[in-house]
């Protein structure tokens, strides 16, 4: 059996697309083959949706529209960040367990390792978005705008998620081990709760309200809300959907550029 050869240098090497897909496939398989991750995440999401919808919901005034229509867009958009915790942990685990070392020793384009991770986690994100939309409709959420706007809202969530993936990849690399990477939860909780995700910012004390109104997640949530609320949106939010969508996409682009640069620089440094 001839496995060991010497003519290693003239043969083709894996290109960026192939390497990225192969790396991504492994990350998705790792996720799929860990069913407790999926079950646990889905149960947790359902539980919190039910809590907010039926327990807090009755006590929260959402400015003239049904609370469920206010909550679900915020809940789903903010959920993108919770998916990101998994990204940070997975990235740190790969570093810790030597998987990244193996990839780095292979003749593949350097970008493939990170691009593969981002692609895989975006796939996982799309899946979890579909699940959370289904749960949303299950608890009574309805689209008040067009179906097209609903689809655009979904696409925006994917775009925001992609940008945030890079933030979490960078954080996971900086953390270096899975336990430390769990710590990004301490970033995710304030970002999601001090936002318009679950309650209108108007009810918050002044300092928190100022933060909540100007942080990127609120802008993104308002963009998604503006697209799903239909005619009621401009009255509630104060601007047309295009205003929020543009600002949200600019934020996402900014996060992507900054986080992507940090992630690549950290990866290169080794």
């Amino acid at each position: 059996m001839m496995i060991v050869g010497t003519a290693t240098l003239n043969r083709p090497t894996a290109g960026l697309v192939t390497s990225t897909l192969v790396v991504a496939r492994r990350a998705v398989l790792r996720y799929l083959h860990t069913p407790k991750l999926i079950v646990f995440a889905t149960l947790q999401m359902t539980m919190f949706m039910v809590f907010f919808r039926y327990i807090f919901g009755g006590a929260i005034s959402s400015g003239g529209i049904p609370y469920v229509d206010f909550l679900v867009p915020g809940f789903i958009t903010a959920g993108v960040l919770f998916t990101g915790i998994g990204t940070a942990v997975a990235v740190a685990e790969d570093l810790e367990q030597g998987f990244v070392d193996r990839l780095r020793s292979l003749p593949i384009p350097r970008g493939a390792v990170l691009a593969g991770r981002a692609a895989a986690d975006t796939t996982i994100l799309v899946w979890s978005l579909i699940v959370s939309v289904a749960i949303g409709f299950g608890v009574g959420f309805r689209l008040h705008g067009t179906v097209l706007n609903g689809l655009i809202a979904f696409g925006l969530c994917v775009a925001f998620g992609y940008a945030f993936e890079w933030l979490f990849i960078a954080l996971g690399q900086l953390a270096g081990n899975a336990q430390a990477a769990q710590g990004v939860a301490f970033l995710v909780f304030p970002l999601t709760f001090v936002s318009s995700a679950y309650v209108p910012t108007a009810s918050m004390p002044r300092l928190l309200r100022v933060i909540a109104e100007h942080q990127p997640l609120t802008v993104m949530i308002d963009a998604v809300r503006a697209l799903t609320l239909g005619p009621a949106a401009p009255a509630l939010l104060g601007h047309a959907p295009a205003y929020f969508v543009t600002r949200a996409l600019l934020w996402a682009l900014g996060i992507l550029l900054v986080s992507g640069s940090v992630a690549i620089a950290t990866y290169r440094r080794g």
């Binding site: 496995i3 060991v4 894996a14 492994r26 790792r30 030597g98 193996r102 020793s105 292979l106 003749p107």
Partner: protein, 318 residues
Amino acid sequence: MTSTIEARGLGKRFGKTVALDGLDLVAEPGQVVAVLGPNGAGKTTFLGAVATLLRLDAGTLRVCGYDVRRDPAAVRRSIGLAGQFAAVEPAMTGRENLELVARLFGLDRRAARSSAGAVLERFDLTEVGDRLVRTYSGGMRRKLDLGASLVGAPRLLLLDEPTTGLDPRSRMELWDAIRTLVDGGTDVLLTTQYLDEADQLAGQIVIVDHGRTVAHGTPADLKRRLGGHVLEVRVRRRDDLAAVAATLGRLHGREPRVDPATRRVSVGLAGGGGLSAVLRAVEAGDLDLEDVALRQPTLDEVFLALTGQLASAPSGAA
């Protein structure tokens, strides 16, 4: 013929820690080179540099004729790396793991599949090839990891402490697997802190300590450097240790090594023939001996003589 590895004056710092401090090493093709040293000696850092995983602060390093700084891509095409922590994916099957690495090595789907199959067969893993790696034993994982570094048919295989943490039987199996590779023509560079592993596998041993090469040669060379054979005396009563050590020291002009735990005194003999003199002197002193032996020095003793510390003694960080 080009040297497999040619390292000159390698330097690498991590913050204030000096990991490599002017390390030199030349490995010729057709042999297993073992880098031997205690924890924190710089072995893993050196391997990382050869595998293009980190940037060196100083020195030049050529691997299979390619400069790691100028042509890392060519180096990566020439090497296979198996890590200290088996870098295989537990949530994939053994076969999927091998195919993944083969694909990244540039093989197309079909070639990857046949290469993965061949590697499974070679390492006796065909039966478990379609099981998730999660269910493998430590030894099986390590073999798969070794296999994964081979699917790309590298010229040089890098093994970072390949048997650390394995039970004795898995260890022997892995040694056999490595020997088979060497017979097949793959050059191997391995790091180890086990002296017997280096002795078992390597044709060339490089001893490193504090980021520097302190000695290199064949196992036999290194043993000779200590001065021929070692005379080892085991006493029946612990109280006699000091007297025996003094006698041996006087006869040979070297400081004997005393190990109270096993009641042994050992000293290197410069020539041969000291044995009868020792026995006469010891008998004259009315000391009760349990055992007297003349043997080859262990690499542990070589290490002690060369670096002033026991190889097994932990020193600083890993």
